[in-house]
């Protein structure tokens, strides 16, 4: 991602202009999207305190695209009181916790698998094709089933969602890490051999540090898929908190404005989590910075 932005400051101007254009286009687009449903609602004789379809477009109860005022109201309604377990900040926190726990599990599993893959060619040949195939499989399809299964064995609370998140996220970590472990400079490896270093020493001093950039690239991919995993897990298990539960509830209640607000929070969470991994990367591997 960083290669796309030659310089942070120089890129901000055009980004700001595009954002302004998008903001300016929002109102007419919203009207255009809502006029049809508004006209139909008017024709059906529903109670609306407006005359024309155009005037009603910004006041629909279930708008296709909510008006700015509706969005702002939705934000306030869903975000306050801030500490309430029914409000979004708390639920975003729950989902973030599940995602991070899932990412941790995925990292541990992924690194373990990577070590096996690098250590044993037989293991690699016997399992790697299936690991690759498991990624072309829509893994989210397994989530509802896994949720039922884990529930039957008494695994409840944070853990089943974290496990499902980890299940979706472990693969990029395993592949990235095994590529990273193999990326050590052959010259350095030879040097370690001439020093008569033990395999453990080679791993600790050479292979692990060399693998870190690969690991973090993989973690950035993994964290977004872990987020998807935990939200899907919340939708398909009986859960009482989290973004997924709020999505499922408001989707059932057809509260469109709430869905938009939740989407915005989800986007914010996704971007924040990636930024978090970025910050961790900069802290752990300062030498990769130019």
């Amino acid at each position: 991602m960083t290669t796309l932005r030659p310089s942070r400051v120089a890129g901000l101007g055009p980004m700001l202009i595009v954002a302004l254009i998008a903001a300016a286009l929002y109102w007419p687009l919203m009207l255009a999207a809502n006029v049809g449903p508004a006209g139909r609602t008017l024709a059906s004789g529903a109670e609306l305190n407006c005359r024309t379809a155009l005037a009603c477009a910004s006041q629909l109860r279930n708008p296709v695209v909510p008006a700015p005022a509706q969005l702002a109201q939705g934000f306030v309604r869903l975000s306050t009181p801030v500490t309430s377990p029914l409000a979004l900040p708390y639920n975003v926190g729950v989902t973030a916790g599940e995602t991070l726990l899932g990412l941790l599990l995925a990292t541990v599993t992924g690194i373990g698998l990577a070590l096996l893959l690098v250590a044993s060619r037989a293991f690699e040949r016997a399992t790697l094709p299936w690991l690759v195939a498991s990624q072309t499989v829509p893994v989210v399809a397994i989530a509802p089933m896994l949720a039922v299964l884990l529930g039957q064995y008494g695994v409840q609370g944070f853990l089943p969602k974290a496990i499902i998140a980890a299940y979706i996220a472990f693969f990029p970590v395993a592949v990235g890490m095994s590529r990273g472990l193999r990326s050590a400079d052959p010259l350095h490896l030879d040097l370690m051999r001439t020093y008569h270093a033990s395999p453990a020493q080679t791993y600790r001093l050479l292979r692990f540090p060399a693998s870190l950039p690969h690991l973090f690239t993989a973690l950035k991919v993994a964290v977004t898929s872990a987020l998807v995993g935990s939200i899907v897990a919340e939708i398909s298990t009986i859960s009482f908190s989290g973004l997924g539960k709020m999505l499922a509830e408001n989707s059932r209640a057809s509260d469109t404005v709430a869905l938009w607000v939740i989407m915005a929070y989800g986007a914010l969470l996704g971007v924040t989590l990636v930024a978090l991994v970025n910050a961790l990367e900069r802290w752990v591997t300062p030498w990769t910075r130019r």
């Binding site: 796309l4 039957q152 989707s251």
Partner: protein, 324 residues
């Protein structure tokens, strides 16, 4: 790793070892097959003594694993492909035998045999679902997203302003969880399949744009200068230098997008359908504890996913010039 270096350790050099490997595999697969067949299926008869069965099945699995390990030695084509096939057979047979030995109720985990029979009995419904999810939603959405993404990428490369103003947003948007996007679009477009197609197109869009732009800009300065000295027209430069250079990046993105497409189609179906699609089927059958149908749907989804990925990969192999 050193095994590659020393030919003395490969199978070809030691025919005795190959024979031993084959024997180990045969014992493992055959024993598991026998165990899976002779054990009573859950629900029929009394559950046998689980501990003895566990020991036996684990021993057979170990024997099979030794065989797989042996088969993976060497550099031949068979050594590269057979172990994976054997792992699948061992895994499926081992699962079947273990589930039967422990008499796990089918409402919890159905045995692979039951899943296969569910796949057969419910085939017409499941194939209809697969058609809706795979062809109408994933494939159409994928095509729409790809075309739109490539067009956008061309614009971004052509206009420097868009590159600086729009591309960062594309990168940003790709970290948004698709699940949060799906209900909004489904509510806006409707319950029928087009809403899911739109979700797929939106999720495919961002990786394609980012990949294509990175690819189009990857042309080396040297080649571009060379085209300039040849007095090539911009169209020629684009066709002969930029596009070939971009193809590997585009196909990398398309491969990622192909798996994303099916996933987002299934997730979008969780938020409402008119009664068709694999995601809908999975959701509703989990609720009714019809887990053999769920697994059958997952098997079909997997096959569709693998086929999709293979389709994109074969297109890549055909269109990309071989690297010399």
């Amino acid at each position: 790793m050193d095994q590659t270096m020393t030919p003395a350790r490969t199978l070809a050099a030691r025919p005795g070892a190959a024979l031993l490997t084959a024997a180990a595999l045969l014992v493992g697969v055959g024993g598991l097959l026998l165990a899976a067949l002779t054990l009573p299926a859950p629900g029929e008869g009394t559950p046998p003594d689980a501990r003895a069965w566990l020991a036996g099945i684990l021993a057979l699995l170990a024997v099979g694993a030794v065989g797989v390990r042996g088969a993976a030695q060497g550099e031949s084509r068979a050594a590269r492909t057979l172990p994976a096939a054997f792992t699948l057979i061992l895994a499926v047979l081992g699962t079947e035998a273990l589930l039967r030995a422990y008499a796990v109720p089918a409402g919890l985990i159905p045995t692979p045999g039951r899943v296969l029979s569910a796949l057969w009995t419910a085939r017409s419904v499941l194939l209809q679902d697969t058609y809706t999810t795979f062809v109408l939603e994933a494939l159409l959405g994928f095509l729409a997203g790809t075309v739109l993404g490539l067009a956008l990428a061309l614009l971004v490369v052509r206009f420097r302003f868009l590159e600086r103003g729009l591309l960062p947003y594309a990168a940003l948007f790709s970290s948004i969880p698709i699940v949060a996007l799906a209900p909004v679009i489904v509510k806006a477009v409707g319950l029928d399949w087009p809403s899911k197609t739109v979700v797929v197109a939106v999720t495919v869009l961002f990786p394609v744009v980012v990949g294509a732009v990175r690819g189009l800009q990857s042309a080396s300065r040297l080649h571009l200068d060379l085209m300039h000295t040849y007095a090539a027209t911009p169209v020629q430069t684009f066709r002969d230098v930029r596009v070939p250079g971009a193809l590997p990046f585009v196909f990398g993105a398309l491969k990622v997008a192909s798996t994303l497409a099916l996933i987002s189609a299934i997730v979008a179906e969780f938020f409402g359908t008119n009664g068709h699609g694999l995601g809908f089927r999975i959701q509703i059958e989990v609720g009714r504890f019809g887990l053999d149908i769920v697994w059958a749907a997952i098997v079909l989804a997997s096959i569709a996913g693998i086929a999709f990925f293979a389709l994109v990969s074969s297109a890549e192999a055909r269109l990309l010039p071989r690297r010399s």
